[in-house]
Symmetry: C2
Subunit: 319 residues, 2 copies
């Protein structure tokens, strides 16, 4: 990371935009890219849109994350939402607000991270807006396409469904604990906190397999399955014996005296996907971790852990 | 404006989102509205997308603007970009970052303004994200549809075209001068600074009339026509005798000893549209204010004012 060189105030707004959008990869679907009032592109089926805002000091710290990681994360968390609808990401736009004394190199490296993650996710950066502001604030909006399938909503879970996940749980939360105590290892959880590893294509895979309901796990497993339970009107039971507690998380638990299962159940920011499926239709690479209960057994739409209410605070709350 | 009552920290993130998206007007094109990972809607033709970020202290001040005006402005400036492509706005998403001590009523009134302006513009609010941050930052992304017409880009101006505008020039800049000196009148220019009056539908009207090039005047007439000149490769000459200098702007000029023509030529934030047309094809309500020059007469792609280079700083620069 370079912290010398010109600031974005010295570079100015128009040159900064120009440098950010230079040499963007293009796609045949994009007929007008960055540089006009709006970008223009084809959408196959219905459009799916999602937006997320990342704020310095809330979602990331410049002292904890490289600019490139912040850029990658900002794309990953947004594309995860499009994945969670079973859609295919197509295009994204970036809003960047930053203080004038931010090194221009930071903005460029952040944009490099956005491009790299966009390439992984198969989405094109088609436009943006840059402006001043007291802290770095990145708002990204991704537009996807349903491409022949109905969107997979949160409200389609039915009793008898199995609940499965694809991706990691608890890694980013363990990384936050490590960073908060001034450490930089285990490296794997620190990296996970800096940028989630999203299984691109997994949402589409679930939709093709006929998933009944799906959600991006941004706030934590219990909290986000709670949204599926609420929207569908049925209870979900998580079987902790089926949850992986990965070795680096166990290590952090031992080092801190904290129970790693709290991060697996309650930690956010890993952006795994959770979906419900009819038994026997769960795709490869997805891991069954629970089931949707019959209302005769559990009348309230809630999330149980091993059949019991979960007493711990679940999920992140900003502010 | 209410500044008492609970803060958004007291209300919390999920209840705030719920209150912001409650009772949103829906449209038959929207098949999944707010509340899922992504919103889903139909797009007729190609999708057109644009994003803008408004930051407290940069684009508005809470002491100068009511929350409702800020909400209206944030929608208006974005839809103006979709209009400038000759497209029809369909859906928008909102990213709201705000300090925890912001009154929840402010956020709600801002959202009310967004809804009102969205209704005027014929666009549906389909989703959003709220998060903490040191100042109010609003990022809005609007998605439109081309609906049977090619998008009107900045690069289509040709020699012999006339340049026409629809909307107001210099009002917001005059309003900024008034507010900066601690005054609240003339009310018309102060209101224009708080929220532009966008002529919704004018961009589509220009596209239907066969406009060759079009742009949203966000940074100022000379600066933004400069983008058309650059992209098209031809010079543009503005005829100041054809520019209206409206009475309230004249009033501010007299009161301050400043030349109101500077605001008309250089002032941003009014979000009028400028387009170039073949002579004889300018639609009603558009006002011819200049022409695209033959490269034999003006080899450089620049903007002239009454045939001369314009020496004054044109356009806003943030940071």
């Amino acid at each position: 990371m370079s912290s010398t060189g010109p600031t974005i105030a010295q570079v100015g707004e128009f040159p900064l935009i120009a440098s950010l959008v230079r040499d963007l990869p293009s796609s045949p679907a994009i007929s007008v890219g960055p540089g006009d009032d709006g970008a223009v592109f084809l959408v196959d089926g219905s459009a799916v849109v999602s937006t997320d805002v990342l704020v310095e000091g809330v979602h990331f710290r410049r002292s904890w994350s490289e600019a490139e990681d912040v850029g990658r994360k900002s794309v990953a968390v947004n594309v995860a939402d499009i994945e969670a609808m079973g859609a295919v990401p197509v295009a994204l736009v970036v809003g960047l607000s930053a203080p004038g004394d931010l090194p221009a190199s930071w903005a460029r490296e952040c944009m490099t991270g956005m491009r790299e993650e966009s390439a992984l996710a198969g989405v094109s950066v088609v436009g943006g807006d840059t402006t001043g502001g007291p802290v770095v604030t990145i708002s990204i909006t991704v537009i996807g396409q349903t491409a022949g399938l109905a969107p997979v909503r949160r409200d389609g879970a039915v009793p008898g469904d199995v609940v499965a996940i694809r991706g990691r749980l608890g890694w980013a939360a363990a990384g936050l604990v490590v960073l908060g105590r001034g450490f930089r290892s285990p490296r794997a959880v620190v990296d996970a906190q800096r940028c989630p590893e999203v299984a691109y294509g997994a949402g589409r895979q679930a939709a093709l397999a006929g998933a009944h309901a799906m959600i991006d796990l941004s706030d934590g497993l219990v909290a986000d399955l709670g949204h599926i339970a609420d929207a569908s009107g049925f209870a979900i039971d998580i079987d902790t014996a089926r949850l992986d507690v990965a070795e680096p998380i166990v290590t952090v638990g031992m080092a801190t005296g904290l129970d790693p299962m709290l991060w697996v159940l309650g930690g956010g920011e890993d952006h795994a996907l959770a979906a419900t499926f009819a038994p026997g239709t769960v795709p490869d690479d997805w891991q069954v971790i629970g089931r949707v209960l019959d209302p005769q057994d559990a009348p309230e739409p809630t999330v149980l852990v091993d059949g019991q209410p979960w007493e711990h605070p679940g999920g992140w709350t900003h502010f």
